[in-house]
Symmetry: none
Subunit: 201 residues, 4 copies
DNA sequence: CGGTAAACGAGACGGTACGTCGTGTCTTTGA
DNA sequence: TCAAAGACACGACGTACCGTCTCGTTTACCG
């Protein structure tokens, strides 16, 4: 790997170490899930001292998150020019695919286990959750502007109703995560359950 | 198979020990959250040997779950004679209150960390999740019968939209879990987002 | 004391169980040494409940000792009519052979580990040690009477010098336990080291 | 092989921890005998983690032996200028005193229980047994040179006859371990039992 | 010959110690 | 100065036996 110049192990390693750590964490995550991502395993596999890891991340969850953040595509790069609701469906399908993968559970575990206020946890949420939610919010607004949606609703609540079911099934595993599920969520929500005005509070 | 008349040989398991273990686990869960529920702490607090715990439960998550299952009320005992949608709102408020408590995170962690196929995990899901979902399904049906709802929708998807947001916020913590949140979910869903027929797939 | 007329009420102890227990203990001792002789292993192998063992023996060492006592030949049945010193050599060879076997170490361990005052420990010592020592004492006396020995010595010290070396090598393992060793001990002792009268105290 | 210039990487082992562990083991040994020397007790008393102990020693017997080796005087420092046989008597009295102490049984137990081939067991035997035996051998040789002894005998057998009785009584406990016992052994051996030439094999 | 009392098998009990693992901190050496 | 290596204190893990107890069953004797 580092054969020709044979740069002996020493000080100037900062970037290389970081990359090796994240790579090791990613591989461990894929092979054995989050429980396999131990500091010791990372250090050994990356050829790095444990203190070097702790210098950058506070605990193993942060390393795992950083590995995911590092690996994931920065943007969904949604298909431009599509109708807003179709774009929303497309995005939802992508998220469903992620949750359906082996990493899905790991994502959920991290969301729970990590310190909610840590720097990396915030970045993780930004990258994986908030960014998509922001996209979704923009899509809803556009749909209203273009007349695809005409109801009166709190967009934040609507976004919860859109993304919530995916997390629900991720946690409970009581149903599939297929593409049609993403579509069904949108359809059910935009049509509503048919309020009659009788059952209101 | 040969269950009713047969009796296992040897000394029967002690009811006292079982009760003490679950009580200790419950207290530890309330005081320090799930991380505090260690086998050693349970054993010491319950005045019980560790093997006695392992004889019944496979790991600390199972004990914690069993403690919750043991402690929780069997049924929500919803207010009878209320309008179905009001009953649904009431149930949702109760769940929100649970998730808002210190136990909320623990519940979520357990759902993730425990072996999904274990006996206790199944019981836990039945008691805490499925039972409420079943109640919700009945309420939806009743609302349709009574004319409070008139839409055409897949009830399973609708139930996901109802309960999903609570898990979403439990995981992400991006918003409150108050009583009004429960109401807002129901309202948003029954009215829908106002489909125009244009944005369909 | 009150043995003949009195008879305990209830079911008498099972001879079959006793035999099975001692057999199991003996086998375990041969296969894995003393550490393998655990109460649980004995009980399982003998098809017997642990309390049945404890009813007769106080701990695993006692069981192991009883197993040895039960297995060992009651008497050395020394060759009659042999010269006393030859008989002594013969006996010593037999003891060396025992110590050289797999059971040798177990014997030593038990002598150390068991409660020195227990009933079985005493029986064990009687059977294995004292009986042989008594035989040895008789042989010494006979040798003196017959004129084979003419020195002035304390017989108890002489007996220690005869049997001690075997235990020494059993413990330390610094030399063989062959037949010639037994002979060498007797020879060296009966001739002595050749006192000159100068080094006396 | 490459010992002198080479140095293991990483943090070197703590001398303080080693000393604390051996001190704790020694105290436990004195207070409660070998059964009291448990890894957990050592770790707690020494303020040390269990893995730190296991890093150096394989089991509690090794720790106990190391503690004794560490504590014992390197040499008996026998009284110079004494007659060789008197020096031998002196040494034997010292050993008898050790065996008579609370540590005596522990010493014997360790000799049996520990892995005979382990590094520490070898050191233990060297320090406690072989060194004294070597001293004894030298004394015998000197006594022959000086004419205090004139017999023809195998010195190794003679040494077994000298030290064996002490181990015999240590194991069997059938007699005292006093100073006069040490003297009696030497006296009996140097004079012999008085061979007549009749009882030979 | 039917009661009764003890011994039986089975195995759960409260404990203690085991030896392993992972954590997050520290100390040393080397580049 | 900082990185690797790895020892450190800590503490939970899950296992193995200990010696005791509680079951329901079996078996011999004695009234």
């Amino acid at each position: 790997m580092d054969s020709p110049p044979v740069r002996a192990p020493g000080r100037p390693r900062s970037k290389k170490a970081r990359i090796a750590i994240l790579k090791a964490a990613r591989e461990l995550l894929q092979q054995g899930g989050l429980p396999a991502v131990t500091m010791e395993a990372i250090a050994q596999r990356a050829g790095v001292g444990k203190p070097t890891i702790y210098r950058t991340w506070a605990n193993r969850y942060e390393v795992a998150m950083a590995a995911l953040v590092d690996a994931a595509p920065e943007t969904t790069a949604s298909s431009r020019k599509a109708a807003p609701l179709d774009a929303l469906r497309h995005q939802l399908r992508q998220i469903a695919a992620l949750f359906d993968s082996a990493l899905g559970r790991g994502v959920a575990t991290m969301l729970i286990a990590a310190d909610a206020e840590s720097e990396v946890a915030r970045a993780f949420r930004n990258r994986f959750i908030t960014a998509r939610r922001d996209e979704g919010r923009a899509m809803l607004r556009e749909a209203l502007l273009m007349g695809d949606l005409r109801g009166k609703f709190d967009p934040e609540i609507a976004l919860d109703l859109i993304y919530g079911p995916l997390f629900y099934r991720l946690l409970m595993g009581h149903g599939g995560m297929g593409q049609d599920y993403a579509d069904a969520i949108v359809d059910c929500l935009v049509h509503g359950l048919g309020a009659s005005g009788k059952g209101a509070a």
